[in-house]
Amino acid sequence: MTPTTIPVDLVALSGERLISELEDIDALVRLHRPKVFRFVAFSVSDRDAAESITQDCFLKAHLTRHQFRGDCSISTWLMRIAFNLVRDHTKSQKFRFWKNAAATAIDANDVSQHLASRAASAEEQLIAKEQVETVHRALQELSGKQRSIFVMRFVEEMELSDIAAATGMSLPTVKTHLYRAVGAIRTRLGATL
């Protein structure tokens, strides 16, 4: 099989198109904000912090748009910025101090309230709600990296290669984090059900 090669001009053209997409900040925010916000919210477990970090993410993306080389999708690039901001936020002493006392912390019960009720019986609905809360609680016990990678894979349904590009980690490292994250959730689910 002959390997498919992309002409250099086409790559440059694609890069230019992506850069021009980055210029339109309104469209960029409209298109990618839900994903970035969701990723940040479930990574830091705080709604206010998530809103602030999401704003910072788009501001940083706009200010550094000329550094975008077009070697990945805009979505992956934004997730990379968001991942770094989440990491910085998690590292800060301020976060550690306020983590447990945050008034805007995302509650497991609040999340499970939004579960679409497709269950046949009330009992099944209750079990499904319990499962969502268990996954949410298990997420809180993970390390920052494990949590972010879990959210990227299982909430945002990103490809492993995109997660590796967004986090700057190798593919085996990403998989190792996922094994650990799934292991924690599996243990929690096994204990509750």
Binding site: R33, F37, A41, F42, Q113, H114, V135, G183, I185, R186
Partner: protein, 168 residues
């Protein structure tokens, strides 16, 4: 193959990987199949709830501008900046006035210096110049001599030897 799927095999299956042996095991092992199904359902439920929650949260912020604004200084920061500028200006003004006064005082002191002192200094300079000239002329006269002062003993010796030679 062990009795049940390993954690890695189960996670790989969750991640979308498909292995013939794992698939075959799942068909024959209801326990592993049930656990995988339970994990899938839990994660899918969490994903659905997370999406619905975030949509709800973003809908609540609909009135708020979502486009990030360029960083602006707060009112407090502005006041601090104004106060700092005023203090800097005041300090610069004080320093300038102080310097100006000091310079005025120096010039007035210089004007008040008596003329006699200036005359004395001038005469001192003149006497020094005179001494220097004297020294220079002395050096010139020494240089003008045929035999330099340090070589004079040799000159005497040479004259005595020549006189003895002539007598022979």
């Amino acid at each position: 193959m062990s009795a049940h799927l390993t954690h890695e095999e189960l996670t790989d299956k969750l991640l979308g990987g498909s292995s013939l042996t794992v698939n075959a095991h799942l068909l024959s092992c209801p326990e592993c199949a049930h656990e995988l199904e339970q994990m899938k359902n839990s994660i899918a439920g969490f994903r659905g709830a997370a999406h619905a929650w975030s949509e709800n949260a973003l809908a609540a912020d609909r009135g708020v501008s979502v486009v990030p604004k360029l960083p602006q200084r707060s009112w407090t920061a502005n006041w601090v900046l104004v106060a700092a500028s005023l203090m800097l200006l005041a300090a610069a003004l004080t320093f300038y006035l102080h310097d100006y006064q000091a310079r005025n005082q120096t010039s007035s002191v210089q004007l008040a210096t008596p003329l006699t002192k200036i005359d004395a200094a001038q005469s001192q300079i003149e006497s020094q110049i005179e001494k220097d000239n004297e020294l220079l002329s002395q050096v010139d006269s020494e240089l003008a001599e045929a035999v330099p002062a340090p070589m004079q003993p040799l000159g005497v010796l040479e004259s005595s030897t020549s006189s003895t030679a002539t007598t022979k």
